[in-house]
Structures are given as structure tokens and as C-alpha cells.
């Protein structure tokens, strides 16, 4: 009965009044975002590897995605390997990465094996006032209350593996060559093991800074998606899910004496086949030359180059693979000017030629899942495209002073804040 009640609420989403959409932009943003675990492949045998790792580790998850990082963020590989993708996929299987991603969705305790739905609830909340979250938050019923059991959320969990390598300028940059040669010599020293010898390339700041101007990277990004379908979800809920025990001693004692729980825990830990990652695709690109304006130290340059390289790949993966496209809520509507604004910009690939559709989520009772109905179409105002690329404001880039892109409504009526937009071809 409760499920039907919730469905009714969710069905209203398609016809929500303007005020409700306006109030719910933030939660809409949270809910609609896909989740991302990003990590990198490090090549210790390549120049500038430590700088690249340092830059990557300092980067935050792209802001259109929920951070679903696991603790291991960097793995090493020989740069000459041609079958890196295969090795990565074997790493996923060997280390049960997919199962760990599911465990993170349900905040599994490694000690007790118990789960809780609060993260799913948090990201999946449609309307806090409409759901009795407090009552539901401690049990799986909380997830059930989301009507689709968190299906959309969990299914939209991605892993992006960034293989980042330094582009050596020796062939065409005389100045850089001299400095690079010097760094190469220093790099040999680092692995010598003498504790009096400085081991970090970054430590040789004066030398490194001599060549940062030409710093560039090649980045291949491999995209994977968590394979979360009805079969997997039902198997998980039916065979593995149990709530974390309360902290009081009686609950703990009861929990630890429960043979069924122990069996579920053991079964989940032994399961090496139910949870998988499926390959979506890849994109390879070379970073653009860094604009040095606004950069004050080498780390800023490395970070800017790596951030923009990854953003560029993410953007192109979005363009190439529909399931990875982001849906962004409309921030504001100017009915008179027939324009809307949304917090999306050049980082997400918005150009004067881009086209977007306006979507509203509708719960499909036949499938028990959400679908998105087109409500209208948009085109960016070429003069009001937000430059939200990494450190764009520091380089005083045109458009970086904006905080959203303005779009002209090219089709549709009744457009409201909170409705979602998605790029179309």
C-alpha cells in the first residue's frame, strides 16, 4: 500500500507546480546525478608520473556526478603494455570492484556485513516532506519507498579509468628539452634509496617549473557501468541484504547469534560472480596547451592540465554514450525572454551549436521504473555560455564571470525550474 502511495507522489512529478520545482532544484540535481568512481593508471617508468598522480589525487569528482570513489584511487602499470584494458578488467574481477561499489551504495559494514539505505535515500530523495524518511531510513523499506528501489541510482554507477601519460616535448621544444633532460637525470637519482637524496620530482621545483609551460598529457579514459538489473537487484535484496544491528548490547548479541545473518554475510563475501562491471567505451585525447595566466606554481599547472584533460574525456564520453550523459536541472526561467539558465557550460561541452532537450521524470508503472518525457528543446545563447572549465576564472577567460549558461527556448511551453535538460544530437 505504501508503495502505491509513493508512486502516486512520484507520478505527480510530471505535473508539479512551478513553486514545487523551484524549491526542489537542489534535490533534483542530487537525485538525477549519476555516480562515479574515478581512478587512474600510473606509469612509474614514465617522466612526470609523480606530478600527474599528485595532480589527479587532488582533483575532485566532476561536479555533475556523485562521488562514489572507493579507497584505492591509483594503480600502476607498465607503460608499454598494449593490453591495459584487459588488465584493468581483470583487476576489477580479482578485486571484486563491482561488489564493493554495491557495498558502498548500502554503506556495508565490513565488520558485521550489515547494510543501510541512507545513501540511496539521500541521493534518491524526491521530496523530503512527502516521504516519511525518518521512519524508513533504518530499513530496506526506505529503499523500497523510492518506488524503483533505487534502480536508477545504482544502475547509473560508473567507473572511469584514466590512463594519463606525459607528452614528451623533446622532439620539438628545444628549451623544454634541456630542462627535461635535466629532470630525467634527477629522476634516476630518486630511486637510489639514499635517504639523503631527494626522491620527489616535485621537490625539484626550480627545475620542474622551468618546463611546466609545455606540460601536456595524453589521457585515455575507459568507462564502465555497474551491471545492476532487476535480476541482480532482487538477488541482492533477497539473499544478502540485512540491516546493520543497533549498537545496544542486546541487539549486538542477538545479531551475532543469528545463524541466518552469518550465512548471508558469508554468502555475500564468497560471491564472485553476481556483481559485474560492463564496458561502455573509451576516449583518448591529448590535453590542450595550458594557459599560464593565473597559474602561480607548477602544481597548479599540472592540476589544470590533468583536470581539463579528464573533463575533456568525460565530456566526449557523454557525447558518445547516452547512458553517461548528465541531466541538469533548469535553474531559472525567464518566461518573457523565453530563456532558461542551467549550471552547465564549456566543461560539459556546451557550444553555440549544442542542442538540448527538456525532460520531466515520469514513473512508469508498467516497468516500475522512471522514464523521461520530452517537454521542450533549447539552444544556448552564444553570448552567454558559461566557461566553467577548471580554473577558467583564474585565467580570466571570456564567460568565466557567469555562473550559468543561458539557453533560448526553441520548443515547448510550461517550462519550469527544476525540469531537467540533456544534450541531444
Amino acid at each position: 500500500m505504501k508503495r502505491i502511495y509513493i508512486l502516486s507522489i512520484l507520478a505527480l512529478a510530471a505535473v508539479l507546480p512551478q513553486s514545487m520545482y523551484a524549491q526542489d532544484v537542489d534535490s533534483a540535481m542530487s537525485y538525477r546525478r549519476s555516480s562515479l568512481y574515478s581512478f587512474m593508471i600510473s606509469h612509474p617508468d614514465k617522466k612526470m608520473d609523480s606530478e600527474i598522480v599528485g595532480a589527479f589525487m587532488a582533483l575532485e569528482t566532476p561536479d555533475k556526478y556523485n562521488n562514489h570513489d572507493l579507497s584505492v584511487k591509483c594503480i600502476t602499470s607498465d607503460s608499454n603494455k598494449e593490453d591495459l584494458q584487459l588488465e584493468v578488467e581483470e583487476f576489477f574481477v580479482r578485486n571484486e570492484v563491482a561488489k564493493r561499489l554495491v557495498s558502498k551504495w548500502f554503506l556495508r559494514s565490513k565488520e558485521t556485513g550489515g547494510f543501510e539505505p541512507s545513501l540511496v535515500l539521500d541521493h534518491g530523495l524526491y521530496d523530503a516532506s512527502a516521504l516519511d524518511v525518518e521512519a524508513a531510513s533504518q530499513t530496506k523499506r526506505g529503499v523500497d519507498a523510492l518506488a524503483d528501489g533505487g534502480y536508477e541510482l545504482i544502475n547509473n554507477t560508473f567507473v572511469i579509468v584514466n590512463d594519463i601519460t606525459y607528452v614528451d616535448h623533446e622532439a620539438n621544444a628545444d628549451e623544454a628539452k634541456k630542462w627535461l633532460d635535466g629532470i630525467g637525470e634527477v629522476a634516476k637519482i630518486f630511486t637510489g634509496g639514499d635517504e639523503n637524496i631527494v626522491s620527489s620530482l616535485a621537490s625539484i621545483a626550480s627545475t620542474v617549473s622551468s618546463m611546466i609551460a609545455g606540460f601536456a598529457v595524453n589521457t585515455t579514459s575507459y568507462l564502465y557501468q555497474l551491471d545492476w538489473n532487476d535480476s541482480v537487484a532482487n538477488y541482492f535484496y533477497d539473499n544478502y541484504y540485512y540491516d546493520k544491528p543497533a549498537l545496544d548490547s542486546a541487539s549486538q548479541a542477538s545479531f551475532h547469534a543469528d545463524a541466518e545473518i552469518a550465512a548471508r554475510k558469508a554468502a555475500f563475501e564468497a560471491d564472485d560472480s553476481t556483481f559485474r562491471l560492463k564496458y561502455v567505451g573509451s576516449y583518448k585525447a591529448r590535453s590542450d596547451n595550458p594557459v599560464l595566466r593565473g597559474l602561480y606554481n607548477p602544481e597548479d599547472v599540472f592540476r589544470k592540465v590533468c583536470a581539463r584533460a579528464i573533463d575533456k574525456n568525460v565530456m566526449n564520453l557523454q557525447k558518445n554514450f547516452d547512458q553517461f550523459k548528465v541531466k541538469i536541472p533548469i535553474s531559472s526561467v525567464d518566461a518573457e525572454a523565453k530563456t532558461v539558465t542551467a549550471k552547465i557550460g564549456m566543461k560539459e561541452g556546451v557550444t553555440a551549436k549544442s542542442k538540448y532537450e527538456i525532460l520531466v521524470p515520469v514513473f512508469d508503472e508498467a516497468t516500475g521504473k522512471f522514464k523521461y518525457n520530452r517537454k521542450g528543446t533549447l539552444k544556448p545563447d552564444p553570448n552567454k555560455i558559461w566557461d566553467n572549465r577548471y580554473m577558467a576564472s583564474d585565467e580570466q577567460a571570456v564567460g568565466s564571470e557567469l555562473n550559468a549558461t543561458t539557453f533560448k527556448i526553441t520548443g515547448g511551453v510550461g517550462i519550469l525550474p527544476g525540469m531537467l535538460i540533456r544534450e541531444i544530437k
Binding site: 579507497s71 564493493r100 616535485a202 626550480s206 602561480y296
Partner: protein, 319 residues
């Protein structure tokens, strides 16, 4: 060696280097450099050999006095805030600059054997002491060493690029790319190409020059503060201090993250785990600690890196 140009001794650490800096734009007239405002009006006449991009409304300038370059600071109001008389000036942080008086090797751009002190640009007050080596002010704290050493600091340089991002010529270089210098600036190779970290006596001081760490027990070597922690070395062992000068991770480890001898790519954990640094014990095992020095992941057999062929130790996974 140098044809000159912009010195962008900008402040990585000068966090508000934006609005004011935008109104001081270096320009060249003949071979001399000065500053214009955003409207193109000259605010500092072109009479300097070098002019940096501005930071917080201040720019570094130099003049050649026949034997070498002298350095000073000009303000956005056109005033020469700090006279052009120092052998080098480094924009620091918290409204402070570090000034150097002593020998400069014009060819290598090394500085060694002189004395450093701090000057506040707000009131031109000077630090009470002068030091053999100094680090930049970060959050009101700076590392200083009073023990004479032969360690050198090198002016930072990088090539000037054309619009396509390529170096414009061998002699076109920018000085002081990093707005503020870093401790690592003084770690330079010797004539044989070896990089040696000489023992010094480092103490952390606040803006008043008061020691925050135990001056009676200085450190042989120190690192820059990053996310509130800096590695330190005493009696050959490593640990970390926080910005209050407390040894939150005791100085008892063979090596620690970011310290000399450590693997540069050892970072494996994201900050959400609470693990902020790794340390290595005498057995060569590493553990990850939180910012209070508490163990997040206990010692395991690892050199700090994970190969794509590894089965990662279960303790290193958070889920």
C-alpha cells in the same frame, strides 16, 4: 643569459591574487618594463629591467646596477613600496615578502651564503631575526633555519611561450613562476648532478617570529605544509607536525609520505577514508594514519603502490 621579461613571482599562496592583480598589467616600452591599469593608463613608468605580474596590488621589479640585479616592490598606486636594493625578493604570503642579501650566481641563478629576512608590506616592519634559509609563510607560519649551510636556492624560471604555447626563444624566460617560493626551491643538484639534502636546524615561526616548534630541538629537514601537515626529520627519523607545531605523527618512522626517499606515487587512498599520510616502519611495512596520528590502516607489507596485477590487501579497501 636573459633577455628579460615578466617575472611572475606570483603567489600561489597569495590566495586573493585576483582583482588587484588585474589592475596592474606589466608592459614593455623599449627594453624597460612598467605597469598599466586595466584601462591602459600607465601607473608605473617603464623603467625597470623586469616586472612581474602583480599579486594583491604589488609587483616585483628589478634594476641592473652594473654588477648585478637589485630587486624591490612597487604598488598599484605607483609607489616603490620596497626600495630596489635587495639581491632578491620573493613574494611570500600573508602580506609578507622574503628578502635576500648575499651572493647570487648570475649564470645559474643560485643564491647561497647570504641572509634572508621577512618584511611586512603593510608596515614595512622587518623580522627580528635573519636566517640562512627560509620557507614561505603559509597560514601565518614559516620554516626558518639559522644554521649556516651551503644549501642554495634557485630563482625559478620558465620559458616565455608564444600564442601556440611554444617557447619563444632560448633567452626568453620568466622569473619566479611560483609566486611564492617553496622549500624545495633550495634543493638543487650539485655539480655532479646529485641532489643532497643538507642537515639544517629548522624551526617553525609565526608572524611575530615566535617559535611554534621547540627551538631547542630543531629539525634536520622539513617539508611544506599540505592540508595542515608537514613532514619533519630529526635524528634520521620522520614524522609530521601540524600548524600548531605539534608532532601529531611522532618522529619515529624510517620514512613517510612525501619525504626524501619515499615513493612519489604512493598515495592510494582518497581523503574520505580519513587516512592522510602513510608511514613506513623499520620492517619496511607501511600504515596509513589520520590527521591525529591514529592508525586507519594498520601496517601491511607494501611499498605503497598497487599494481594492476595485484590483489589489493583487503585492509586497503574501504568497502
Amino acid at each position: 643569459m636573459r633577455k628579460t621579461v615578466l617575472i611572475s613571482c606570483l603567489g600561489a599562496l597569495l590566495c586573493s591574487a585576483t582583482a588587484a592583480a588585474q589592475t596592474m598589467i606589466p608592459f614593455q616600452s623599449g627594453k624597460a618594463w612598467g605597469y598599466k591599469d586595466a584601462q591602459g593608463k600607465v601607473i608605473v613608468e617603464a623603467r625597470y629591467a623586469d616586472a612581474s605580474q602583480a599579486v594583491d596590488g604589488f609587483g616585483l621589479v628589478s634594476l641592473y646596477d652594473g654588477s648585478g640585479y637589485k630587486w624591490g616592490v612597487v604598488g598599484s598606486d605607483g609607489r616603490e613600496v620596497l626600495p630596489v636594493e635587495y639581491d632578491y625578493v620573493d613574494m611570500c604570503n600573508d602580506g609578507m615578502v622574503a628578502v635576500y642579501t648575499g651572493p647570487v650566481d648570475a649564470e645559474s641563478l643560485y643564491m647561497a651564503g647570504g641572509q634572508w629576512k621577512f618584511i611586512s608590506l603593510a608596515d614595512l616592519s622587518e623580522s627580528a631575526g635573519s636566517y640562512n634559509l627560509v620557507g614561505p609563510y603559509v597560514d601565518g607560519l614559516a620554516w626558518v633555519n639559522s644554521k649556516p649551510t651551503s644549501m642554495k636556492r634557485q630563482m625559478r624560471v620558465m620559458p616565455i611561450l608564444d600564442k601556440k604555447g611554444k617557447p619563444t626563444g632560448e633567452e626568453n624566460i620568466i622569473f619566479g613562476v611560483s609566486a611564492s617560493f617553496m622549500l624545495e626551491d633550495m634543493i638543487v643538484p650539485d655539480d655532479s648532478g646529485n641532489v643532497v639534502l643538507e642537515d639544517a636546524e629548522w624551526v617553525l615561526i609565526d608572524r611575530n617570529g615566535t617559535a611554534v616548534t621547540d627551538a631547542a630541538s630543531p629539525y634536520q629537514a622539513v617539508g611544506m605544509f599540505e592540508n595542515g601537515l608537514a613532514w619533519v626529520k630529526r635524528d634520521g627519523l620522520f614524522g609530521f607536525v601540524n600548524t600548531s607545531g605539534e608532532e601529531v605523527i611522532p618522529v619515529k618512522y624510517v620514512t613517510v609520505q612525501d619525504a626524501p626517499g619515499s615513493h612519489p606515487a604512493a598515495l592510494l587512498l582518497n581523503p574520505e577514508t580519513g587516512a592522510v599520510r602513510w608511514v613506513m616502519n623499520e620492517a619496511g611495512q607501511i600504515a596509513w594514519l589520520n590527521e591525529k596520528g591514529e592508525v586507519v590502516i594498520d601496517f601491511i607489507d607494501s611499498d605503497g603502490r598497487v599494481s594492476v596485477f595485484d590483489t589489493v590487501d583487503e585492509n586497503m579497501w574501504d568497502y
